[in-house]
């Protein structure tokens, strides 16, 4: 009996250690955001930094920009991803090992830094797109090509996210969709539904839980990501994680609690998204008992 309790504990030990390190990191950030940073001689807990932040224009603009980037890119990624996934399933390419399908998974593997390089090659004012438009006579010069990369609309950032996230959403959903389409979709077609009807009335609704999950994952990720807004973003407004890191490395060490307060705001919004994910996850378990979805 004793062994029964000891073995799982031993097995869990390394995981618990790593989890503890992770949680310690989050707590340390939270504590510092309340102005307690002993190495800097700050020991008095205070809400000052939050108050300052909430009163400043900069925070709201950064927060708004981060939310704008993540919501727009995630909505478009889900639309594009579901479209691609449906195309793969309906054209029969989702089954077995298809070389082309393997190729489409490549963007999921590439670091964001590399995607930023691609964006610079293609979308900058001297990029291939601008050259093409010039060759076609649609723009008169380098300057008349809209600055897609460092502008406030964040077109470059959003397109870069899409390049990675459309395949991610498609492959997150494809296993489930292929299975549903083969079984229940087939049944609907046998009962007289047209392929389009069967797809929109049966297959797509049954895949909704997986699609929602994929949406929340890309939403949470792009909201908190640093690389792309840092490399391709405008000077103002800065995405919230970028602004927080700037405060963090500023020579004035008293800015650290401010950075931590910004981080805590990012943390709570991300956790809110995670909580939603958790609720949907439970819901999916109930709805799809028996059917297994691929979550990797």
């Amino acid at each position: 009996m004793k062994r029964q309790r000891l073995v799982p504990l031993l097995l869990l030990l390394p995981f618990l250690f790593l989890l503890a390190v992770f949680l310690l990191g989050l707590c340390s950030g939270l504590v510092q955001s309340f102005g307690i940073v002993p190495p800097l001689g700050l020991t008095e807990p205070t809400l000052r930094y939050y108050q300052e932040l909430f009163c400043s224009d900069e925070l709201w603009r950064s927060l708004g920009y981060s939310l704008y980037l993540s919501v727009v890119s995630s909505v478009l990624a889900v639309i594009g991803g579901v479209l691609l996934c449906s195309a793969l399933v309906l054209s029969g390419k989702a089954k077995g090992r298809n070389k082309m399908v393997g190729m489409l998974q490549l963007p999921i593997m590439l670091p964001h830094v590399v995607v930023a390089l691609f964006a610079m090659n293609l979308l900058s004012q001297s990029g291939l797109l601008a050259r093409l438009l010039y060759a076609l006579g649609m723009i008169s010069g380098q300057e008349s090509f809209p600055d897609l990369l460092f502008d406030q609309a964040g077109v470059g950032i959003i397109l870069s996210y899409l390049w990675k996230e459309i395949p991610f959403v498609a492959f997150f959903v494809v296993t489930l969709m292929a299975a549903v389409n083969e079984n229940l979709g087939e049944a609907a077609r046998n009962l007289g539904a047209s392929p389009i009807q069967a797809f929109f009335r049966v297959t797509l609704p049954l895949c909704m839980p997986a699609i929602k999950n994929a949406f929340l994952i890309v939403l949470a990720f792009s909201f908190g990501a640093y690389e792309l807004p840092f490399l391709l973003g405008p000077t103002t407004p800065k995405a919230l994680p970028v602004a927080a890191y700037l405060e963090y490395i500023s020579p004035d060490l008293k800015n650290r609690p401010r950075a931590m307060a910004m981080n805590s705001i990012v943390l709570f919004i991300s956790l809110g998204m995670a909580w939603l994910y958790y609720c949907l996850f439970q819901q999916k378990m109930i709805r799809l008992q028996g059917g297994k979805s691929d979550e990797e």
């Binding site: 869990l12 989890l19 989050l26 195309a87 090659n121 927080a244 981080n263 943390l267 991300s270 995670a274």
Partner: protein, 267 residues
């Protein structure tokens, strides 16, 4: 009607293919480009400067250490994931569900939040600016993937065969090693791959925790991106892409060689 639909679907797949391949083709061209003046559609001067730099000793050293670092982090993350999976699947204890949810947290909480929070503590224990410190944070980032992949596969394989081996006289470690381990191999491979990619792609954490001492591919890439030397940036990227693909092919070959029957089953 039906052919129209399937034509449309094929079109979408081809369009996606084009979208994925276009940046890669442009990248390859940039590798060999010395001068590509506006508004020409093809470069004027080609050179091997990028290639020479990339195959120089310093770049190869970074490549070597970068792969080693990511492989170590991936291996640790998979072993921890496997242990955690066995505890969660084969034993009952309170808080199991919460634990599984907690294992997903590093995926949800942005790396900037975790990195800046843990930085001070790592400085205090002397792990910041060191390779072990960077490996530690990379392992944490890879855990959500390895735990979830290993939990799913451990659950799918179950305990029955291992118990058979125990009944036939094998010790518990031996039963695991010669019965469950081979069956888990494909899952271990995909978990390793995910963990390796996660570690390899990490820019922010490597920069912050490594403090410039630990130089990986993404860390040395960024300055080239910022000062606009696209030839070198393209050279590095191409080399690392090739290496990554190679690492995966080697991995897969190893799995196929030692467990040929499993690979066939999977297909």
């Amino acid at each position: 009607m039906k052919s129209k639909l399937s034509l449309c679907c094929k079109g979408i797949v081809w369009l996606a293919m084009f979208g994925v391949l276009l940046p890669l083709i442009v990248l390859l061209i940039w590798c060999f480009t010395e001068r590509w003046a506006w508004p020409e559609l093809v470069p004027q001067v080609f050179s091997l400067r990028g290639l020479r730099e990339v195959l120089g000793s310093q770049a190869l050293m970074i490549l070597h250490s970068s792969i080693l670092l990511s492989a170590t982090a991936a291996l640790i993350a998979v072993v921890v994931g496997l242990m955690t999976a066995r505890a969660i699947v084969f034993y009952q204890f309170p808080g199991q569900k919460l634990l599984l949810f907690a294992s997903m947290l590093p995926l949800i909480v942005p790396t900037t939040v975790f990195g800046m929070g843990i930085h001070l503590l790592l400085i205090r224990v002397g792990l910041s600016d060191t390779v072990p410190g960077v490996i530690l944070v990379h392992v944490i980032c890879a855990l959500p993937y390895t735990v979830s992949i290993m939990t799913d596969s451990t659950r799918a394989i179950g305990k029955k065969l291992e118990e058979q081996a125990r009944v036939l006289g094998a010790g518990s470690l031996r039963a695991f090693w010669s019965v469950s381990m081979p069956a888990l191999m494909p899952a271990i491979f995909s978990a390793l791959a995910m963990a390796y990619i996660t570690s390899f792609s990490q820019y922010f954490l490597t920069l912050l925790i490594g403090g410039g001492n630990v130089r990986t591919f993404t860390v040395i890439m960024v300055p080239y991106l910022q000062n606009g030397d696209r030839t070198l940036a393209a050279g590095y990227t191409t080399l690392f892409l090739l290496i990554t693909v190679l690492v995966f092919l080697v991995f897969r070959k190893i799995v196929q060689r030692f467990y040929p029957c499993l690979e066939q089953n999977r297909e």
